[in-house]
């Protein structure tokens, strides 16, 4: 694979996707500390939001230690070079949240929908573009449909005003060929000025390999997370991916890998409550194709009802659930318990 001189924009997720393993309890000081470290390491894009996006604070997904507004206000003040992004899932967050984020100094809005439901994003993408923000359409669980189907949804988001489109492997299910097929088709068929991005999860240990496949197929933006702090087995470990890109001679726009490695080791790892690793449950997420943030919910429900968490996740995948359906997990655990007893 030859990626020499290829431009890659790294987008760090540990202060958004990393909110999942931290149960949305990252402190303001930790946010500032990590974001500043990433900024000094030259990471051009840093996401800061509740794990389920703007407005995610809820009984269903978890109440965070601080509001999105408090996190964003605190972090944007301390950042010198990087752009701060915020995630928004229509149906959870609204245009009111989007305006709030813009007022806090967010420069990039990523509007995320399930991969078949892009048409719920029109209001939000259009407003973000109108506000002059870098506007990303983020198609989640992209393993569930064909490359051609993803392209049709991507074109909708592009038509609403998105200047970048992501194929998102929310379940960590994809293998490199799946990534190549999806990213390759998006690159071939979307407008040349529309950037393509890839967001991976490491549930099958494919984070780095998939991200490389994405770059080779034409993706410019790649999401990862320092020390892999993210849902499931985490995101593509950003410092590892950066080290690989450096060896391959890709153009990371000035990212300093040693500074990035220090942020991972000295700032992110110490705040992990449990190692983010390919556990039995995380592997099953990737193997079967379930949404990565279901992990801790399944573990809690499994414990409460005395049923194996990975079997709950298998059932969630078998029912073809999508991101956000955390509320079904307890019900499935109760049904499994009833079957065991009966």
């Amino acid at each position: 694979m030859n990626l020499k001189g290829k431009k890659v924009l790294l987008h760090d997720m540990c202060l958004r996707d990393g909110m999942h393993p931290k149960q949305h309890q990252i402190s303001i000081e930790q946010m500032i500390n990590i974001a500043s470290g990433l900024d000094e390491a030259g990471v051009p894009l840093i996401e800061v939001t509740h794990g389920d996006g703007l407005g995610g604070a809820s009984v269903n997904y978890g109440f965070p230690a601080h509001t999105d507004q408090e996190y964003l206000t605190a972090v944007t003040k301390h950042i010198k070079h990087a752009k701060i992004s915020a995630l928004l899932l229509p149906g959870i967050g609204t245009v009111d949240h989007l305006r709030m984020a813009a007022d806090c100094g967010v420069k990039c809005i990523r509007v995320a929908t399930h991969c078949t439901e892009a048409d719920v994003s029109e209001q939000h993408i259009a407003l973000s573009r109108k506000l002059g923000l870098d506007t990303v359409g983020f198609l989640m669980m992209a393993h569930m449909i064909t490359p051609e189907e993803i392209l049709a949804q991507a074109k909708l988001m592009e038509s609403y005003g998105a200047n970048c489109i992501y194929a998102t492997d929310s379940a960590g299910y994809m293998l490199p060929d799946d990534v190549t097929a999806r990213i390759g088709l998006l690159r071939a068929e979307l407008k040349p000025e529309t950037e393509i991005g890839f967001h991976g999860h490491h549930n099958m240990a494919m984070g780095v390999a998939n991200s490389l496949a994405a770059v080779e197929a034409g993706a410019v933006r790649i999401d990862g997370s320092v020390a892999g702090l993210g849902a499931g087995a985490g995101n593509t470990p950003l410092e590892v991916f950066a080290a690989v890109l450096e060896r391959m001679g890709a153009d990371m726009q000035g990212v300093n890998i040693f500074k990035l490695i220090d942020v991972a080791e000295d700032r992110v790892v110490p705040m992990m409550e449990h190692p983010v690793r390919i556990s039995r449950e995380a592997l099953v997420l990737g193997y079967a194709g379930a949404y990565s943030s279901f992990l801790l919910f399944a573990k809690r429900a499994g414990k409460k009802y005395g049923v194996p968490a990975h079997e709950i996740l298998l059932e969630m995948a078998a029912r073809r659930t999508v991101g956000g359906q955390e509320d079904l997990i307890e019900e499935i655990a109760m049904e499994m318990k009833a079957k065991k007893v009966g």
């Binding site: 959870i92 609204t94 009111d96 439901e117 719920v120 029109e122 659930t321 999508v322």
Partner: protein
Amino acid sequence: MSKKLRAAIIGPGNIGTDLLMKAMRSEWIEPIWMVGVEDSPGIQRARGFGMKVTTDGVDGLVPHIKADNIQIAFDATSAYVHAENSRKVTELGVMMIDLTPAAIGPFCIPPVNLQALLAEGMKSNVNMVTCGGQATIPMVAAVSRVQPVKYAEIVATVASKSAGPGTRKNIDEFTRTTAGAIEQVGGAKQGKAIIIINPAEPPLIMRDTIHCLTESEPQQDKITESIHAMIKEVQKYVPGYRLKTGPIFDGNRVTVSMEVEGLGDFLPKYSGNLDIMTAAALRTAELYAELMQKDAA
């Protein structure tokens, strides 16, 4: 039995067509007009049912309101055009039942506040909140009538095929309007609404989770009894309204999950979200029709 009130349905889409089929069975309402903006399949179906149709929008209906003695109109279009539709018909004395999330008139969740609304006399416009609101606010009210609820949150999961273009273009209005009605009608101090659209095949039946955080420790027996009584009230007009799990009590959290299966009048049974809207709207219209008859007598 006195004569039925004559009605117009604006919007010949999924909701409008389903409403039409229910209204044709009503003892109180007689659908006369279906209003669209083009010769769509919905307009063609309505014509097939013997309805008068126009493809010129509400402007095509207005000249006939007096002659056809239209007294009730249902708006099943979108929040963006509702205000204009409502103005044009209400100034001719027609009562508007609003199935969009526009919420110009007072919110109406039949088993919770329809009796109170009726006691206030005739209204020119009442709003049916949203599908998620109709399916969940009875449960919030069932808890809040037992003891104060400081926060209520609902998660509505609907099949992709049952989420029409109106809902999709309007998804923020869904969350905003539902959250407002959780507070105003459901009786929670603070409300939040989330909607998830799932494209699985075969399509899933509408599913709703309702979380209430009570101010003091929940009175489990009373809340359980209140929830079961409220479910029976909803089942009077939506027989497929079923408790899936709960109530689960965890500290001050009370959680129930509901499944809403439709009657399958026009749309398949999984789209209970549409069915509960049309059934609630028709029930509201019927009770107002009864009130009008009494007033006229």
